[in-house]
């Protein structure tokens, strides 16, 4: 029973604990045993918080015995990318350098909120150094590996989050997404991933990368678990200066409302040009299932991607400038050289990129007057092999690491909410994701569409069949 629950959803685990079919301690112990058994192959966890998890599970069991409300996540395990502060641990952010930082004094806001809703934190997850990565490789901790084929990338930078959820170690993991770092591992590992609207969820207690583009959000094996964890993390946090003054609108109450009446279109132009046939075919599958015949253009998407690229270089370099001067040798060379290049990008380019942001935002908002949901590939291809450094897109050989986010960057550039959904093709070992994109603050609509697709078995996120 416990093994079946671990392969299922957080929702099902919480329900089983609430009814007493299983205890929170049994789930925590089984989760810790599974991490012990599988993490060596997956490279998902960098720290396991076993003692804390068991204490939290015992508290939940005690609360149940006393008849208290256990919360919507009652006893469901979760883990977080290692850029989230966990009290008592240094926040690595995938780096060697940060291991010298003092232990965090408090948990990140969203961890505290998930635990307040009954979740049980079981550890911290591998990630690309300082989140400047789309591959899931890490020079210090080794790569996270794709559970569906260990020789392939998880995608990054939330690579450990992808490996942990697809490998059945936890039903939900948190990641961060600056240019695609939730949506890329969701695509490569065959998961549901939610990047909320910029300014929606608190980033307090997370190590930044590009503050004007950074988002946090969940990866899960069901749309329902995305909604469950997203709802638990909602709420104002005055310490995050980017947080918008918006009411906390829960997504779960309308999750099963279906797609009737929603105007859905697929993005053409830029989003069809540089994709390989597997990505186009995945969007075809979703569009067909949703009866979305319309193709619309998001004008300026190529420039939006360029602008996001430049802002990332400049803001990332500014954040790490002192570390580059003092500890250059302790960086992953692949990350260091990109950051050094960022220090030399002319200010005029960065200013032009910021100006374009407003223009592109206006173009997207105008498009959303006429549609509710846009469909686009999440990645240009399925997960490359771990050692692969280049791929050919649109007839051009390109570096893998900076270019996997071709289709995610224009969308996060203007902070739109997106759910990545996993599409499988018969005979293929690896999945690929499609972005369900909504207007600002309409996470509920993107989640509804994902849920409908899941109910119709168009998309699915099985645990990888690891031995």
């Amino acid at each position: 029973v416990t093994a079946a629950l671990l392969d299922g959803t957080a929702h099902a685990i919480a329900a089983a604990i609430r009814t007493g079919a299983v205890s929170a301690r049994e789930i925590a112990q089984a989760t810790l045993a599974r991490i012990e058994a599988r993490n060596g192959a997956l490279g998902a966890f960098t720290e396991v918080t076993a003692k804390r998890a068991l204490a939290r599970a015992d508290a939940i069991d005690a609360a149940r015995a006393s008849g208290a409300n256990l919360g919507p996540l009652a006893g469901a395990p979760f883990a977080v990318k290692n850029l989230f502060d966990i009290a008592g641990l240094p926040t690595r952010a995938g780096s060697k350098i940060n291991r010298d930082r003092p232990p965090s004094k408090a948990d990140a806001t969203v961890i505290a909120r998930l635990e307040a809703a009954g979740g049980v934190l079981v550890g911290a997850l591998n990630m690309g150094e300082f989140a400047y990565d789309f591959t899931g490789r890490n020079a210090h901790d080794g790569p996270s590996r794709n559970p569906h084929d260990l020789e392939h990338m998880t995608g990054g930078s939330s690579g450990g989050s992808g490996a942990a959820v697809a490998g059945g170690l936890v039903p939900v993991a948190l990641g961060s997404d600056t240019n695609g770092s939730i949506r890329v591992p969701s695509s490569f590992c065959g998961l549901f991933g939610l990047k909320p609207t910029y300014g929606r969820l608190s980033r307090v207690g997370t190590f930044p990368f590009v503050a004007s583009l950074d988002h946090v959000g969940p990866l899960a094996r069901s749309a329902g678990d995305l909604a469950l964890s997203y709802d638990a993390m909602l709420g104002r946090d005055d310490w995050d200066s980017a947080q918008a003054d918006k009411p906390a609108a829960a997504a779960s109450p309308t999750l099963n409302d279906g797609v009737t009446g929603l105007r859905i279109a697929r993005l053409g132009g830029y989003f069809a040009r540089s994709a390989d046939p597997s990505a186009i075919s995945a969007v075809d599958t979703i569009a067909r299932a949703l009866k979305a015949d319309r193709v619309v253009e998001l004008a300026g998407a190529d420039r939006a991607r360029s602008a996001a690229y430049l802002i990332t270089m400049v803001e990332g370099a500014a954040l790490h400038f002192a570390r580059l001067r003092e500890r250059a040798q302790d960086f992953d060379p692949e990350v260091r050289d990109r950051l050094i290049a960022g220090t030399m990008v002319p200010g005029a380019w960065a200013a032009q990129a910021q100006k374009f942001r407003r223009q592109f935002h206006a173009i997207a908002l105008a498009l959303f007057r006429d549609v509710d949901i846009l469909l686009a590939p999440a990645t240009p291809c399925r997960a490359p092999r771990l050692e692969q450094t280049t791929f050919v897109l649109d007839g051009r050989e390109m570096l893998v690491r900076p270019n996997i986010g071709l289709f995610t960057q224009p969308i996060s550039f203007i902070g739109l909410p997106v759910v990545a959904v996993p599409v499988w093709t018969e005979g293929e070992k690896l999945p690929i994701g499609v972005q369900i994109i909504a207007a600002p603050w309409r996470e509920d609509l993107a989640l509804r569409v994902a849920r409908r697709l899941e109910q119709d078995s168009v998309v699915r996120a099985p645990v990888a069949p690891l031995s």
Binding site: G342, W349, Q354, K355, R357, R358, P402
Partner: protein, 42 residues
Amino acid sequence: LTLTPESRAQTIAHLRIAAEQAERLLSVPFDDRQEPAPVFTP
């Protein structure tokens, strides 16, 4: 900031990519008074 010999080739390669990206953006005509000091709000 010191650019060591082992970083030189990759740093130049990344700057070349950045220049390609910038070329796309610099051709966008902006009026001088159009958001001269951008502040992003979603």
